[in-house]
């Protein structure tokens, strides 16, 4: 009885094996294999991945990719499906169809993830698309497994694409650095050194330290040492450049936030504590523009930002004009009272915004054309929104410069700044100039708000987060000139980014505030002090 049983099992087993071998021979994938991907046993899953990888790449690649992305499922009739945005494709033969009953998704777990990714990369290496091959070899070069390296050695001779070949060479070198052959190690150290792949700095440096597995050959040691120092230099360059660029970006945000203040505080000596709320209203104008586009012209949604710029400027400039007429005008010459009154205005504006738009942040989605970033170097990516803000800052600064230096308003404004009585006796209506200047400063703050809406949250408290920084920029730069504010903002931004890695964001900020407080002791008039009579006033 037992013998019969055994024979029966053996027979069934051979039959299964044969049918699965048959399937493999034809490049097909067995549904049982797909089912095993869902097994709780990691080794079983790995074996199944291996079997699938050996099938026809036209089938196995999409299957494994779907498995990796959580888009692979099995229905109640034990058919495997790839689900892609509502369309179902049978995983075993790539034919579209309809699932019967509920499709249960099979998910890859972290234990097998590396194995899965490796398998996918290996399949992608044979893709006809050079971009996919490049990405796959870069992926393997990141963490080369012996199996993958063997495949690379076989493929590198046939690879037509230069970049892909470079990545393959690097992956092979990373594996060869552990080799027993001295020549191979020497060549590998050179390849890695040339690649500038800074992630290899630590593993290479570890080889130089005494201990198990350390490098003993002097020539190879020398090659490794020069590779490590080349990478250290490279790393320093990248880090410095990245800090400079991020600092410039932060500085441009600070400048946009502070530029309006540099006009009202710097030129008119009016402390406008409601300046932050002008930023906030500029950001809400962007939100309004976005809402209007969503409602009335969804097809042109990408353009909402373009419309938001003049809208924010007009809205905040008009409000600035109104506030100047109603409140600020009555307090000229009493700076401390102006400070308190404009603080009161800021409270009213915050609460009004809360009442109208709610206390929560509103969503301002960056337009699609701003998605993504500009990759300067493998580790330095600047989001396009930051690049846009940088450019926008240049435009706004030029706009302010043009108004101040090339228009009649600017000429009169500078005259009033230098000597109010003299300007008045020459027939300049100083009150009107005051009003327009305040409107200009508010409008520029509104423009800053448009930029801020693309970088962070838009809520009623937006202005409060920027007001103190803005004042610091103006005080640091020296009251009464725009150039000082520009230098101050960029300097602060860069200093913050260089301090951040060493001290952390919060301590860095504290350090900068303290540094400004100390700096003002040393140069009470700021970086660029006005000379002559204007200084005394």
């Amino acid at each position: 009885m037992q013998t019969i049983h055994r024979i029966l099992i053996a027979a069934i087993f051979t039959l299964c094996m044969q049918s699965s071998m048959l399937a493999r021979a034809q490049g097909m994938v067995e549904v049982q294999t797909v089912q095993r991907l869902g097994s709780a046993n990691a080794d079983d899953v790995k074996r199944a991945i291996g079997e699938i990888a050996r099938a026809d790449p036209g089938l196995s690649l999409p299957l494994l990719e779907a498995f990796s992305a959580g888009k692979l499922g099995i229905d109640e009739q034990a058919t495997a499906w790839i689900q892609d945005s509502g369309v179902l494709t049978r995983a075993t033969d790539g034919v579209p169809g309809k699932a019967s009953g509920h499709v249960r998704t099979i998910l890859a777990d972290n234990q097998t993830r590396r194995h899965l990714d490796e398998a996918i990369s290996r399949l992608r290496l044979r893709s006809p698309n050079p971009a996919i091959r490049r990405a796959a070899s870069a992926e393997i070069a990141h963490h080369p497994e012996p199996e993958s390296v063997d495949i690379l050695r076989e493929l590198i001779g046939h690879e037509p694409d230069l970049q892909a070949r470079e990545q393959m060479r690097l992956a092979i070198a990373k594996s060869d650095i552990q080799s027993n052959d001295r020549e191979k190690r020497l060549a590998a150290a050179r390849v890695i050194g040339e690649s500038g792949d800074i992630s290899m700095r630590e593993p290479l440096a570890a080889l130089l330290l005494p201990g198990e597995g350390c490098e003993r050959d002097p020539a190879v040691k020398k090659a490794i040492r020069s590779a490590v120092s080349a990478m250290e230099w490279q790393e320093l360059k990248i880090r410095t450049l990245a800090n400079l660029i991020y600092g410039l970006s932060l500085g441009s945000v600070l400048l946009l936030a502070a530029l309006g203040l540099a006009i009202t505080f710097g030129l008119m000596k009016v402390i406008n504590m409601a300046h932050g709320e002008m930023l906030m209203l500029g950001a809400y104008s962007t939100y309004l523009s976005q809402t209007a586009f969503v409602k009335y012209a969804p097809r042109w949604l990408g353009l909402y930002l373009v419309v938001a710029v003049p809208l924010a400027f007009m809205l905040t400039a008009a409000l600035g004009l109104l506030l100047e007429r109603l409140v600020v005008r009555r307090l000229y010459g009493r700076p401390l009272e102006t400070l308190l009154a404009t603080w009161g205005l800021s409270l009213i504006l915050i609460q009004a915004t809360r009442t109208m738009f709610g206390a929560q942040n509103v969503t301002v989605a960056s337009p699609e054309w701003l998605a993504g970033g500009w990759e300067l170097m493998p580790t330095v990516v600047i989001p396009y929104s930051r690049v846009l803000v940088l450019g926008f800052t240049c435009v706004v600064v030029s706009f302010v410069w043009y108004i101040l230096q090339r228009t009649s308003l600017g000429l009169k404004l500078r005259a009033v700044t230098q000597n109010r009585e003299m300007a008045a006796s020459l027939g300049i209506n100083t009150e009107r100039i005051d009003a327009w200047t305040f409107a200009l400063g508010s409008g520029v703050a509104g423009l800053g708000g448009v930029a801020l809406s693309q970088l962070g949250n838009v809520g009623p408290e937006l202005g409060q987060q920027h007001i103190i920084d803005s004042f610091m920029v103006v005080v640091l730069g020296g009251v009464g000139n725009i150039v000082g504010s520009i230098v101050g903002a960029i300097g602060l931004g860069v200093a913050a980014k260089f301090l951040e890695p060493a001290a952390g964001a919060v301590l860095g900020k504290i350090a900068i505030l303290v540094a400004i407080i100390l700096f003002i002791q040393w140069r009470p008039q700021g970086l660029f002090a006005l000379k002559g009579r204007a200084q005394e006033s």
């Binding site: 700076p335 308190l340 009154a341 205005l345 800021s346 409060q464 004042f471 407080i517 003002i520 002791q521």
Partner: protein, 362 residues
């Protein structure tokens, strides 16, 4: 000396002062003890609220001493207030050793952060007297450092205001960090007892209230003494024409620094009474907006008169407690409007209305 103190007020003003303080320190606690039906005539919440007002009034007097009499507008007095509060809070935390959630001799937040022993700057605070002295000295030391640097460089007016504002922001960021060692975000709270008396008992709270009121009375008299002295006279000269005062031979730096430091000490004292009354101290007390509100108390009550400052603090905070309960959305509108209206229409504050009526009557 005694004569100089009695000369601070006219006889009638002394009478008003004595009656006010007596009714606040004796009558209010008495009424709180007498119950009609089930509820006392003055509830515990009201008593605590009045105690809070006393602390705020001390702060207002401190702000008025520098702003109203020396022309220094500080937007950072919240730091001094909070530092005094933290000193007291540290004592309260240590006095409940072993009664926290973790039954450790360390404060709960330190156990939570897995600290094994008290940081060095917490030592000594288990003594109430030491903590009280530190509540005065720590804010004063910070004030001396900041004030010396600022006044020496002749930083005045709005520049000084902006610097003090940056100072309070920096301090707030610092205290928000857990690593700073003062409970981070949550600050110090869940106090159980003060000087061996349970804080849950209403008699303890009443005692703190009475002490806070007496402290307020003393601070007021001290302020009045300063203002009426020769020193106060020079301060006003510095306020109105600093350059002229300097040319007359007065060392204006010393005068400004002295009043600035005294003012910080008063704030620290107020903070020390405030913490056991409200039961919590956290970094939000150092928010720049809090310090600006302190200035508006003085502006509303009447800059340059100590009574006005104290009245302003009480009026604004009474309005705040009422509105934030009855119409929370309206409060910021009202506060904002008060800022604007007072600076434009009533530059001398509420007290000027009283003074005008007296003038028109005579």
């Amino acid at each position: 000396m005694l004569e100089r103190i009695t000369r601070l007020h006219s006889g009638r003003a002394w009478l008003v002062f004595a009656v006010t303080i007596a009714s606040l320190t004796v009558l209010v606690p008495l009424l709180a003890q007498i119950s009609v039906g089930n509820s006392p005539l003055i509830g515990e919440a009201t008593v605590l609220l009045l105690g809070k007002f006393a602390c705020y009034a001390m702060v207002a007097i401190a702000v008025d001493l520098v702003w109203g009499f020396a022309g220094i507008l500080s937007l950072g007095h919240g730091v001094f207030f909070a530092l005094g509060g933290y000193c007291m809070g540290m004592n309260l935390m240590l006095s409940m050793a072993g009664q926290g959630v973790y039954r450790s001799k360390l404060p709960d937040f330190m156990v939570f952060l897995d600290w094994k022993e008290l940081p060095w700057f917490w030592h000594g605070f288990s003594n109430l007297i030491f903590a009280g002295v530190m509540a005065l000295l720590v804010p004063m030391a910070l004030a001396v450092a900041i004030g010396y640097l600022a006044f020496r460089s002749r930083i005045r007016g709005v520049y000084l205001s902006l610097i003090t504002q940056a100072l309070t922001l920096a301090a707030m960021l610092l205290f928000f960090r857990n690593e700073t060692g003062f409970g981070g975000n949550n600050g110090l709270t869940d106090f159980k007892q003060v000087y061996g008396y349970s804080l849950a008992q209403s008699s303890t709270k009443l005692a703190i209230y009475i002490l806070a009121m007496l402290a307020f009375a003393l601070v007021y008299l001290l302020g009045q003494f300063i203002v009426k002295s020769r020193f106060g006279l020079v301060l006003r000269a510095v306020r109105d024409a600093e350059a002229k005062a300097r040319f007359c031979g007065y060392d204006t730096l010393r005068f400004k620094l002295t009043i600035w430091t005294i003012s910080a000490g008063i704030c620290g004292l107020a903070g020390a009474f405030y913490v056991p009354l409200v039961g919590i101290i956290n970094p939000s007390e150092m928010q720049p907006s809090n310090s600006i509100e302190m200035v508006i108390w003085v502006a509303v009550g009447g800059r340059g008169t100590l009574v006005g400052a104290a009245i302003g603090a009480a009026v604004i905070n009474a309005a705040k407690s009422w509105f934030t309960a009855a119409a929370p959305d309206a409060w910021l509108f009202i506060l904002g409007a008060i800022f604007v209206m007072v600076t434009i229409l009533l530059p001398d504050g509420l007290i000027s209305l009283l003074a005008k009526r007296r003038v028109s009557r005579s």
